[in-house]
């Protein structure tokens, strides 16, 4: 048994960490946090040059032709660095949707552009409150054009194209949904930037008014493709969350070692030690669940839906817990804009919602476990 990443994959992780430590310092993240840039363009270019954007894209489409395990180790580092770039929307959502359902021409058009850093992509799924569900998709598609409003769309304001979920039927079933590719720079698309919990990753409202769209995958197959995309993204996001959890835990640990109160290191008080120990426990459970998700993703196993939901829940809980208690360990200083703790708190809570809420994924997990038991 080797339920771990290979030496090569670990080397890739070290390489990514080194690169991000240099190019994505908290100071660099703050440029985006403070609203001085919509995302870190230099970093995005660098990620492309390192081959990270296309790591899981086949060579014939301009990628590195490695696999999802390699993407997982990079995702972990992106989360650790709190990278202010549209990585998850472009790589986990748009690129994966293209890989699953794109025609050869669509792949040729967009995947090389993603790998080279020339195109930012996203998934436009949500239409206001609620979780992923076929009946929540109301945006209408007819005669090759889309009409309706999507929000929130991750990185929508900087994206060049979007995979858009639209309604093409009225049977009340999953088959009502179809996916479309839309050039967001074309006519009929209006984009409005939204303020959001985590300014280091934008959210937008996109209005489609007779916007030209081409089908992605077969008509009526939208929900089935989306489910696969969301499962894959759940695993990949889980690795970002694991990376973020570890960083938040480290920050709390380091502060507990540095800070003196009552004449001793605050890390010598059991109340603080036990809080940090519990952070470690949740981070470890999340890491292990995510490894299982990575295995299922990389082998395209039948267990992927269950493994993805478990990784999603576990990593969401861990990141939220570590981020909030990192602030608690820091005390008042943790609640200042100047300290970096809130960046992880913001990211953790934004990520907890991005692919649907924790409650939604809990529900999914139980459904999937029942299905497996019934089989």
């Amino acid at each position: 048994m080797n339920f771990d990443f290979s030496d090569d994959q670990k080397q890739l992780r070290d390489q990514a960490r080194k690169f991000l430590t240099e190019k994505c310092s908290p100071k660099a993240v703050r440029v985006v946090l403070d609203g001085k840039a919509p995302y870190d363009k230099e970093l995005w270019k660098g990620l492309a040059e390192m081959g990270f954007l296309g790591v899981a894209i086949p060579e014939e489409f301009g990628g590195a032709g490695a696999g999802h395990l390699e993407l997982c180790v990079i995702a972990e580092e992106m989360g650790r660095a709190n990278a202010p770039v549209p990585f998850s929307s472009t790589v986990y959502l748009a690129a994966e949707a293209l890989l699953i359902a794109g025609s050869d021409a669509q792949k040729k058009k967009w995947l090389p552009a993603i790998a080279s850093g020339d195109a930012i992509g996203t998934l436009a799924l949500f239409e206001g409150k609620g979780n992923p569900a076929p009946k929540a998709v109301k945006l209408a598609a007819a005669n090759g054009v889309l009409n309706g409003v999507k929000k929130p769309v991750p990185d929508g304001a900087i994206a060049d194209f979007a995979v858009v979920a639209a309604r093409t039927g009225s049977s009340g079933r999953d088959g009502d949904t179809s996916l479309f590719l839309v050039d967001l720079k074309a006519a009929g698309v209006e984009v409005k930037n939204l303020t959001n919990l985590d300014p280091t990753r934008g959210q937008a409202e996109i209005t489609f008014k007779d916007a030209k769209a081409e089908p992605l995958g077969a008509a009526g197959e939208g929900w089935s493709i989306l489910s696969q995309v969301l499962d894959r993204a759940a695993v990949l996001c889980a690795f970002e969350q694991v990376g973020g959890s570890d960083r938040a835990l480290e920050m709390g640990r380091d502060y507990a070692l540095d800070r003196i109160a009552f004449g001793r290191q605050i890390g010598s008080f059991q109340a603080v030690k036990h809080m940090l120990a519990d952070m470690y426990v949740l981070a470890t459970l999340a890491r292990s669940n995510s490894y299982y998700g990575a295995w299922a993703l990389s082998t395209n196993a039948a267990e992927l839906p269950e493994a993805a939901a478990a990784a999603r829940i576990s990593a969401t809980q861990a990141f939220q817990h570590c981020a909030k208690n990192n602030i608690q360990v820091h005390g008042g200083m943790g609640f200042t804009w100047e300290f970096d703790c809130h960046m992880y708190y913001r990211r953790a809570n934004a990520m907890a919602l991005g692919l649907g809420s924790l409650t939604y994924w809990e529900d999914q997990l139980i459904d999937r476990m029942r299905k497996k038991n019934a089989a």
Partner: protein, 414 residues
């Protein structure tokens, strides 16, 4: 990343599976599978006898204490082979429970510190289950603070004379031998005046009194020592070095990698899958599903944490400290799971025993659960271990560290 055996591991697994298939006491399989925390019962047989017979059968065929050297009754297996054996042994592994302390802690301590002739005499019957061992460390005044123990050992000719009391000794009532941590010098700081021995539990002056636990059962004992004589050649390690010897024992306790910890989750999921509530199946209730999902990811998190440790073993590495979380997570989880299972039963959840739902499975679990959060290191001690040894946080400030043992206060207030 894969779950596949190496060719050697696969061969070992096949051999183990074949032998278990041909030799395991199948007549008890169903009952062993249905047992859960607080309730391992065989209706028509004596558990200790069945366990000893299975252990002896394994030993005769070379399947006992796999990781021990052959000359001491083991198989000389690699750590990963031991894990594979545990996986294959499945429910029959429950029968090894009463040997865990002997095999996992006493044996390794003997191997590290006993004289060669003692190893050859005492270890093979320990491996084969013919002799059962217990571990006599904890005392009324030294539980989490083991080094605060007071049982005295005083030299008298070639013997040591033991007086004092131990507590929480699992299995002392059916044990033949024990390893015993004593205080040989009360005038030096507490960690420095300890010495370890092994002894025959039938020695004159040893009295075992079972403790009736909060659950009503009796797995633990008090053991009293009145002028018990132990020959000096049964000393383990140097005089005054008992603390270091005991660390060897405790390290072995915590390195039981791959041993499945009970979380209660599979039992609860199964229960909820068939349970009907007032307004429909429990498994379709939102609140129930949320609870189940939260426990599911803890259970799977522990499972895959263990898989990661096994993988490290398979590569010939020492597993990292991640495994220390198992007991901490599982202990409180099983208590919460049992509490919730009874909540789902409403007022009738109060009924326990054979008349209760599932013959009282969750009631028994609830009553046994508090012990899991205390035995082998309380939740709080486990958190200290994680904080100090994994995260590198400072140890507690110990006010008794450099104080001679006999000058440490013994009462909180007068």
């Amino acid at each position: 990343m894969n779950f596949d055996d190496t060719p050697q591991e696969a061969e070992f697994r096949a051999t183990a599976r074949a032998w278990i298939g041909a030799n395991a006491p199948r007549q008890y399989e169903d009952e062993l599978r249905k047992s859960s925390l607080g309730r391992t019962v065989l209706k028509n047989a004596n558990l200790l006898e069945v366990a000893k017979a299975w252990q002896k059968k394994k030993a005769d065929a070379g399947w006992a204490c796999l990781h021990w050297p052959k000359e001491y009754g083991g198989r000389g297996s690699t750590p990963i082979e031991r894990v594979i054996w545990q996986q294959e042994e499945g429910p029959f592994g429950q029968l090894s429970r009463m040997f865990i302390i002997g095999h996992g802690m006493c044996g390794p301590t003997m191997m590290a510190f006993a004289r060669e002739e003692h190893k050859r005499t005492y270890l093979p019957p320990l491996a084969s289950g013919e002799k059962v061992w217990c571990q006599l460390f904890s005392e009324p005044a030294g539980g989490s603070d083991v080094a605060g123990l007071r049982t005295r050992a005083e030299k008298d000719g070639d013997d040591w004379v033991i007086n004092g009391q131990k507590i929480w000794t699992s299995g002392a009532h059916y044990s033949d031998y024990g390893i015993l941590l004593t205080r040989t010098d009360p005038t030096v700081p507490k960690h420095k005046g300890l010495t370890m021995f092994f002894l025959d539990m039938k020695s004159p002056g040893v009295e075992v009194r079972p403790i009736k636990q909060a659950s009503g059962a009796s797995d633990f004992n008090e053991v009293y020592f009145t002028n018990v004589r132990i020959p000096d050649h049964q000393r383990l390690g140097e005089v005054g070095d008992g603390w270091n010897v005991s660390l060897t024992t405790l390290m072995n306790e915590r390195s039981a990698i791959g041993a499945a910890v009970s979380t209660g989750f599979p039992e609860l999921f199964e229960y909820c899958s068939s349970l009907m509530l007032d307004d429909g199946p429990a498994i379709e209730d939102r609140a129930v599903r949320s609870k189940l999902a939260n426990w599911a990811v803890k259970a799977s998190g522990l499972k895959y944490t263990s898989m990661r440790a096994i993988s490290a073993l398979s590569r010939g590495e020492r597993p990292g400290p991640e495994n220390s979380i198992g007991k901490l997570v599982a202990g409180s989880m099983i208590q919460d799971v049992a509490t919730y299972a009874l909540d789902l039963q409403g007022a009738s959840g109060v009924v326990s025993g054979d008349d209760a739902e599932l013959a009282g499975r969750f009631q028994a679990m609830l009553l046994r659960a508090p012990g899991t959060r205390v035995e082998g290191g309380t939740d709080e001690i486990m958190r200290n271990i994680i904080a100090e040894r994994v995260l590198g946080l400072p140890g507690d400030i110990r006010v008794d560290k450099d104080v001679p043992f006999n000058k440490i206060p013994t009462k909180g207030r007068n």
